[in-house]
Amino acid sequence: MTVFEKWSEARGREIIAAHEALEGATLPILHALQEVFGYVPREAIPLVAGALNLTRAEVHGIVTFYHDFRERPPGARVLKLCRAEACQSMGADALAEHAREKLRVDWGGTTADGRLTLEPVFCLGLCACAPAAMLDDRVVGALDAARLGALLDEAGRR
């Protein structure tokens, strides 16, 4: 389980300063912010814009263009289920349906108790052991109803 920090402007500035000298620093900065805060806080956008000499609109455009960047904090854990073709061929659609029903969330949603965020992913490169998922940093392959159930139970525990 990942513990994210609460937004703080000082910490945000520190993260931005650590990366702003890189060529094409935008993505490294946004990744670093999300790693620390769990999402890209709205408050960080003008700071990134200022550091990189971009407009706030441009930075907002970049944040929203990429699927990875969240605009609000995720749950305590994040479960990504692969929805791409190789996993579909092994029944991923039905498993995903089951997960959404059981968790009572749609894609990108967080359970009411805040414990789990469910995200779609289009391919984890685990196509020869489909269907595949990733719980935080841990990859899981050859999912079936039982393995998914165990994963959801694990993810739901405090």
Binding site: G24, E85, F122, C123, A130, A142
Partner: protein, 518 residues
């Protein structure tokens, strides 16, 4: 000498429990007061046998798999460390039919070597290509790659050497080598396996490219969905730098070359080379119009070679063995080997590197063993989300760039996703359009709007609303997208859609064999 065990740490093996197996090995070792050397390798690519472990014996390595943590204690009891008999014992891995039939050039070391050991890399032929590159000099390196016939393994199949020659001839104070490691196609994992299992081959290939075109800086743009590959690459770059293989004077030569690993952010379109360059520059990953070619105006407007992981990782062996040895393999204008990735509902899913020219039927039925579910194979999608669905009737098609184009498809990055007879092809066609609508960069209308309309039209067909009229509309829409899109996303999404409609008309409410009515 301590016993040596080789444990696959490829993400595919981890997804099947390699971590737990390694922990069980350590427990068994401690319980017996042994001292075992555990070598962490990539995967040999036989995923139905993962997690696979191997033990070094006087007769060579002996493999066991698929191993679960609870099997480990019994395996030790059975004499695992001497290669003893056990129900999971597979014998010498090289003798397994799936491996024996392959021609492993690019993947020669993957799954065998300690992926982060420079010593192991050298002992298995590493850096021979780079040494020969120093001896040849820049123009001769380029001609060697041209002569090998190597074509871009990312999907487009453009001759790699020609890209290099163009960038080499460009005049600029700074040039770049960019590795496209945004392997987003479902059914593909060759790039991931090389990055996790033999990262130095990619580093060596990029360094050779740098020397060939006069670039001193390289970037690897890896997708964020590959956290293990990112970690291994970063460590490999540090190790290579520490060993003098990257930096101011590569291997004591006057050539400078260094690398940085950059991480994508979940946008499929960034696998398109110009969108990738925009993304590396810190922008939205929008496709650029060509010309100018990246070889003239690429990253930050400077001459840039941008190649796929497998293209670059194939360069060391081409240089080491010579262009002729590589060019002598293959079929038609597709020279050398291709790592075919058997995926989805394949019984024997994994990586199969072979010279071009196998038929699709051989790949799916003989090598892949049909479906994992045991049901009949109905369709295979070749080349990712933008690749065509092939019915059994086209299984004679040889695996070759031109032959696949002639059959209305593409080989793309070499992924082969197998579907059994439960697949609904109208649903797959709808998904192709939906995926395009989610992933479109939005620059051109046929892709941005066309994909949304495509989903709607397929939905109407599925509901039986004015079937013939809507099927005609779908075909016209696909034509517009094919001709009017700037890049392969909008331009190629008609492949899965039209192939599904043409070869599986019954799923679109047309009686069998009446495809012409579409």
């Amino acid at each position: 000498m301590n016993p040596r065990l080789f444990v696959s740490r490829d993400a595919g093996a981890l997804a099947l429990g390699a971590d737990e197996v390694e922990r069980a090995i350590v427990l068994a070792e401690q319980r017996r007061g042994l001292s075992i050397e555990i070598v962490r390798t990539g995967s040999r690519g036989l995923f139905w046998l993962e997690p696979m472990i191997e033990v070094a014996t006087p007769e060579g390595r002996i493999a066991y798999g698929p191993v679960r943590a609870q099997d480990v204690e019994g395996m030790f009891e059975a004499g695992l460390l001497d290669g003893g008999p056990h129900p999971l014992r597979l014998g010498r891995p090289e003798e397994l039919p799936f491996l024996k039939r392959q021609t492993r050039l690019t993947f020669a070391r993957c799954g065998i070597v300690d992926r982060l050991s420079l010593e192991d890399y050298r002992a298995h032929g590493g850096f021979r290509g780079l040494e020969r590159a120093f001896a040849l000099g820049a123009p001769a390196i380029v001609e060697e790659v041209v002569g090998s016939g190597l074509r871009g393994r990312g999907g487009a199949g453009f001759p790699t050497g020609i890209k290099w020659r163009t960038a080499a001839q460009a005049q600029a104070a700074q040039k770049y080598i960019v590795c496209n490691a945004d392997e987003g196609d479902s059914g593909t994992f060759a790039d991931r396996m090389i990055m996790e299992g033999d990262p130095f081959s990619l580093i060596e290939g990029m360094t050779i490219a740098g020397i060939a075109v006069g670039a001193t800086k390289g970037y690897v743009y890896v997708r964020s969905e590959y956290p293990h590959a990112i970690e291994i690459l970063r460590r490999a770059v540090d190790i290579a730098r520490g060993g003098g293989y990257l930096g101011a004077g590569v291997m004591g030569s006057p050539h400078a070359f260094d690398l940085e690993i950059r991480v994508g952010a979940g946008a499929y379109v960034c696998g398109e080379e110009t969108a990738l360059l925009d993304s590396l520059e810190g922008k939205r990953g929008m496709v650029r119009a060509k010309p100018p070619l990246p070889a003239h105006k690429g990253l930050f407007g400077r001459p840039t070679v941008i190649n796929n992981v497998i293209s670059l990782a194939s360069v060391p062996i081409i240089l080491a063995e010579g262009a002729t040895a590589y060019r002598d393999l293959g079929y038609g204008r597709s020279r050398g080997t291709m790592p075919i990735q058997l995926a989805g509902n394949a019984r024997y899913g994994g990586l199969f590197e072979a010279a071009f020219g196998l038929t699709l039927g051989e790949i799916v039925d003989e090598i892949g063993g049909g479906t994992a579910t045991g049901r009949p194979v109905r369709a295979v999608q070749v080349g990712g989300p933008l690749g065509a669905y092939f019915p059994r009737a086209l299984f004679e098609t040889p695996f070759d760039y031109e032959a696949f184009t002639a059959a209305g498809g593409l080989i793309g990055h070499g992924g082969v996703v197998v579907f059994d007879d439960t697949v609904d092809m109208a649903r797959q066609a709808r998904f192709a359009m939906e995926f395009c609508s989610i992933e479109s960069c939005g620059k051109c209308t046929p892709c941005r709007i066309g994909s949304v309309r495509g989903v709607e039209v397929i939905d109407r067909i599925a509901k039986g609303e004015r079937g013939a009229e809507n099927r005609k509309l779908l075909v016209e829409l696909c034509e517009t997208m094919k001709l009017g899109s700037l890049c392969a996303l909008g331009g190629f999404v008609p492949y899965p859609v039209l192939s599904a409609l043409t070869h599986f008309p019954e799923d679109f409410g047309i009686a069998g064999g009446d495809a012409e009515a579409a």
